[in-house]
C-alpha cells in the first residue's frame, strides 16, 4: 500500500522540477510548444476551444452578476473569482461526472462546470439556505468555509474510491493561504501513505484576504508536495490549456493507481477577497495592472482571433449564453424566499432526536402564541 521512494522519484522526474511554470498559451495569445505537456491537450478541437472561451466568459458574467446582486442588497456576501476563470474552468472541464469535487467558497466556476442549477449558486449567499445543492447531484460537495478542511475530505473520498475498485478521482480545490493549515499538510501525508487517487489543486491567487502569499510560503508552494512523496506541477493558472494539461496528467496518474498529484495554479485575485473587503488598503495598483495584462480570457480571445475562430456567430452566441445564464441566476435569486421558521430544526440529525423535537415543539407553541395578534 505504501509507495517506495524510487517510485516517487520517478514520478518527480516525470513531472519535471516543480519550479518551472508550465505554459501553453502566452498572454499575447501565442501557443507555446512544450512536448511534455501539449500532447495532453492535442485533442482539444477548435470547437472545444470556443466552448472553453464561452465557459470563461459565462463564469465571469456569473461573477459580475452576483457581485452586482450583492451591491443591490440581494445577496449578503459574494466571493468574486474574477481573474481565476482559467484555473477553475481548465481544471473542472477535465473532470468526469463520476469524479468528485471538494472545494472552498470561491469555486463557483467549478460548480458551473459541474452543472449546478444557477439559483443554487446564490442560495447560501442570499442566506436562505445552509446548502446550495445536493452534492450527489453534481458530484461536488457544498463549499467548505473552514480553510483547508476539505482537502482531508477529498483524501478520504479518494480512499473510498480505491476501496470500491473504481477509477473515479477526488479533487480538492484550495487557496495559497490554505496551505498553511495543518489539515492541508495532513491531507498530503494521508494521501501519500494510502496512495489515494486525489488531486490537490491549489489556486495561488497571491492573496489570503490581505496577506500576500509570501507570508505563507517562502518558496513556491508546489515545492512542498514532493517532500511528502507527492509529485507536483506549477502551472500558469491564467492559461486554460496549461491548466487542462496539468489536471489531465494528475487525473491520469490517479486513475492509473499512481496516487496523488499536487498542482499549483499561479493566478491572481483581481477582485476583493469578498464584497465586504477593501483591497485598496493592501493591494499595489501596479501589480494589479501587471496581472490584468495576463488576463485568462483576453489571451484565449487573442488566440481565437489570430486563428480566425472568433467568428461573429461565436461572439454572439457566447454573449447570448452569458445573458441567459445571468438572467436565470438573477431571476432565481429574486425568487428565493426566507424559509419557514420551523425548518431551522430540520436536518440537524438524520434520525429522531428527543431534545430537539421538544425544543421545536416549544418554539412552535411560542410562534402560535402570537397568532391572532395584530
Amino acid at each position: 500500500m505504501l509507495r517506495s521512494t524510487n517510485e516517487a522519484t520517478n514520478d518527480l522526474n516525470l513531472l519535471g522540477h516543480p519550479e518551472d511554470l508550465i505554459q501553453l498559451l502566452t498572454p499575447a495569445g501565442d501557443r507555446v510548444a512544450d512536448p511534455s505537456y501539449e500532447s495532453w491537450v492535442a485533442d482539444v478541437t477548435d470547437e472545444q476551444l470556443g466552448s472553453l472561451y464561452e465557459d470563461m466568459v459565462v463564469a465571469r458574467r456569473i461573477d459580475t452578476e452576483a457581485t452586482a446582486l450583492q451591491r443591490q442588497g440581494q445577496l449578503g456576501l459574494w466571493p468574486p473569482l474574477l481573474g481565476q476563470e482559467a484555473a477553475q474552468i481548465g481544471s473542472a472541464r477535465t473532470l468526469r461526472t463520476d469524479d468528485f469535487v471538494f472545494s472552498s467558497y470561491r469555486e463557483n466556476a467549478v460548480a458551473y462546470c459541474r452543472g449546478v442549477d444557477l439559483t443554487d449558486i446564490v442560495r447560501v449567499w442570499r442566506g436562505t439556505a445552509a446548502s446550495g445543492w445536493n452534492p450527489y447531484d453534481i458530484g461536488m460537495a457544498t463549499p467548505a468555509v473552514i480553510i483547508g478542511a476539505q482537502t482531508l475530505h477529498a483524501t478520504g473520498y479518494a480512499i473510498g474510491c480505491q476501496k470500491d475498485g473504481v477509477d473515479s478521482v477526488a479533487i480538492a480545490y484550495f487557496g495559497d493561504g490554505a496551505t498553511s493549515q495543518g489539515d492541508v499538510n495532513e491531507a498530503m501525508i494521508f494521501a501519500a501513505s494510502f496512495k489515494a487517487p486525489v488531486v490537490f489543486f491549489c489556486q495561488n491567487n497571491q492573496w489570503a484576504i490581505s496577506e500576500p502569499v509570501g507570508l505563507q510560503a517562502t518558496r513556491p508552494i508546489a515545492d512542498r508536495a514532493p517532500g511528502f512523496g507527492i509529485p507536483s506541477m506549477r502551472v500558469d493558472g491564467n492559461d486554460v490549456l496549461a491548466v487542462m494539461a496539468a489536471t489531465r496528467i494528475a487525473l491520469d496518474r490517479a486513475r492509473r493507481g499512481d496516487g496523488p498529484t499536487f498542482i499549483e495554479a499561479v493566478t491572481y485575485r483581481m477582485g476583493p477577497h469578498t464584497t465586504s473587503d477593501d483591497p485598496s488598503r493592501y493591494v499595489d495598483p501596479e501589480v494589479q495592472q501587471e496581472w490584468a495584462a495576463k488576463d485568462p480570457i483576453i489571451r484565449l480571445e487573442r488566440l481565437l482571433k489570430a486563428t480566425g475562430l472568433l467568428a461573429d456567430e461565436l461572439v454572439a452566441s457566447v454573449k447570448a449564453k452569458a445573458d441567459a445564464v445571468a438572467k436565470e441566476m438573477r431571476d432565481g435569486c429574486y425568487g428565493l424566499e426566507a424559509p419557514e421558521a420551523l425548518t431551522v430544526f430540520d436536518n440537524v440529525y438524520a434520525t429522531p432526536h428527543s431534545w430537539l423535537e421538544r425544543q421545536k415543539s416549544q418554539y412552535a407553541a411560542y410562534l402560535a402564541s402570537f397568532e391572532g395578534e395584530k
Binding site: 471538494f102 445536493n134 478542511a149 483524501t155 473510498g160
Partner: protein, 335 residues
C-alpha cells in the same frame, strides 16, 4: 451466552459490525497490527484485512477528516482516538465538519461516523490519558454522545452507534475495560437501547444519576445508603446527548431528590444540564436542590492525587445525605 470483558464486548461488537456491513471500516492509530493500545481491535485486521481495519498516520484531524470523506462516499467509518486527551487536534473536524455536514448539505449527505474514545481516569496514568471531555461534544449540535458501563451495553451499544445514521461519540470507560459480564450478542433495541437510560436499581428517596465508569460506583453507593436506611434509585444515562430526560424526570417525580455524578469537571459539565433540565421539568417535586458530585475544575491531576479528584462512594454518600437534609460535610460550611 459467554462471559466477556467490557473491552472484549466492544471487540466482538466491532467484529459483528464489520461482518454485517461491508461499508464499515475502522481507522485509527495502532489499531491494526497491535490491535489498539487496549487491544479493543485485537485480531480484527487479521480477520478483515488492512482495507477494512486501517492503521493511519499519527494525526487525529487527518483521521476524522478522512472519515468524513469516506462517509461522503457511503462508508461507515469507526474511528478510534487512542486516549481522551488526544481528541482535541480533531476538534475542528468533529465540531465544524462531522457535526454540521448533514445540516450543511440539507440532509443529503449522512455522517454515520462512530468516534470511539477510551476515557476517564483511575488508571494511574500520566497527563492527557484520564480526561472526560464528553461535555464539549454534548454541547455541539449535530453530534450524539453515548457511553457504556457494562459489557452487555458495550457490545449492543457500539453496534447501535455504528448502525446509527448520525455521528456518535462513543465513550468507553477505560478503567472498566476489564470488568466481565454476560453478553448476549442478539439482544434487540427494546432490551438495550443506546438512547434510553437504564434503571440499574430502583429506589424511592433519591435519584442518583451516573454514567460510564461511575455507574458501578453509584450502585455500590446505593447499597451502602440502604444500610443507612436511604433508598437510592440509580440511573445509568447511557446517552449523554440527548439525555433520556423522560426517564430521569419520572424517577425524580417519585423520589423528589437528585444527585448527579461524573468524573468530568463540574463547571459547565453534563451534571449542570441534568440539574437545570430536571429543575425546569419538575421544580415542584423537588425536596432539595440537585447535588453534583464530580471531578474538580482542575486539569486532570497527577496519579497520586486522582483518588481525591475522582468521585467515590463516600463523596456520593455525602451528597445523598445533603439532598436528604441529613448532616453532611457542608453542614455549617460557609464560603
Amino acid at each position: 451466552m459467554a462471559q466477556q470483558s467490557l473491552s472484549g464486548a466492544i471487540n466482538t461488537g466491532l467484529r459483528r459490525a464489520l461482518a454485517d456491513d461491508p461499508k464499515v471500516v475502522l481507522l485509527g492509530e495502532d489499531i491494526g497490527t497491535l490491535g489498539g493500545v487496549f487491544r479493543v481491535t485485537d485480531g480484527l485486521q487479521k480477520e478483515f484485512g488492512t482495507d477494512r481495519v486501517m492503521d493511519t498516520p499519527l494525526a487525529e484531524a487527518g483521521i476524522l477528516g478522512t472519515a468524513v470523506g469516506l462517509a461522503f462516499r457511503g462508508y461507515r467509518p469507526v474511528v478510534e482516538i487512542q486516549f481522551d486527551g488526544f481528541i482535541y487536534p480533531a476538534f475542528d473536524q468533529i465540531v465544524a465538519q462531522v457535526a454540521k455536514l448533514h445540516y450543511r448539505t440539507g440532509g443529503n449527505v449522512k455522517m454515520p461516523i462512530t468516534i470511539r474514545v477510551p476515557y476517564g481516569g483511575g488508571i494511574g496514568a500520566v497527563e492527557h490519558h484520564s480526561e472526560s471531555p464528553e461535555a464539549y461534544f454534548a454541547h455541539t449540535a449535530g453530534l450524539r454522545v453515548v457511553t457504556c458501563s457494562n459489557p452487555q451495553d458495550a457490545h449492543t451499544m457500539i453496534r447501535q452507534a455504528i448502525a446509527c445514521d448520525d455521528p456518535v461519540l462513543f465513550f468507553e470507560p477505560k478503567r472498566r475495560y476489564w470488568v466481565k459480564g454476560e453478553v448476549n450478542e442478539d439482544l434487540d433495541e427494546q432490551t438495550v437501547s443506546m438512547e434510553r437510560a437504564h434503571t440499574v436499581q430502583e429506589g424511592t428517596d433519591v435519584t442518583l444519576v451516573a454514567y460510564g465508569p461511575l455507574v458501578i460506583t453509584a450502585r455500590d453507593a446505593a447499597l451502602a445508603a440502604a444500610d443507612e436506611g436511604i433508598s437510592v434509585e440509580v440511573i445509568d444515562l447511557r446517552s449523554l446527548a440527548p439525555i433520556d430526560f423522560a426517564a430521569v424526570e419520572a424517577s425524580v417525580r417519585k423520589t423528589g431528590r437528585l444527585v448527579i455524578t461524573h468524573e468530568a469537571s463540574q463547571y459547565g459539565g453534563i451534571g449542570a444540564e441534568v440539574a437545570a433540565s430536571i429543575t425546569e421539568r419538575c421544580f415542584y417535586h423537588l425536596e432539595s436542590a440537585p447535588a453534583r458530585v464530580t471531578g474538580f475544575d482542575v486539569p486532570y491531576p497527577a496519579a497520586k492525587l486522582e483518588e481525591h479528584h475522582l468521585p467515590d462512594l463516600d463523596r456520593i454518600l455525602d451528597a445523598v445525605d445533603r439532598v436528604m437534609g441529613r448532616e453532611n460535610s457542608l453542614t455549617g460550611w460557609s464560603a
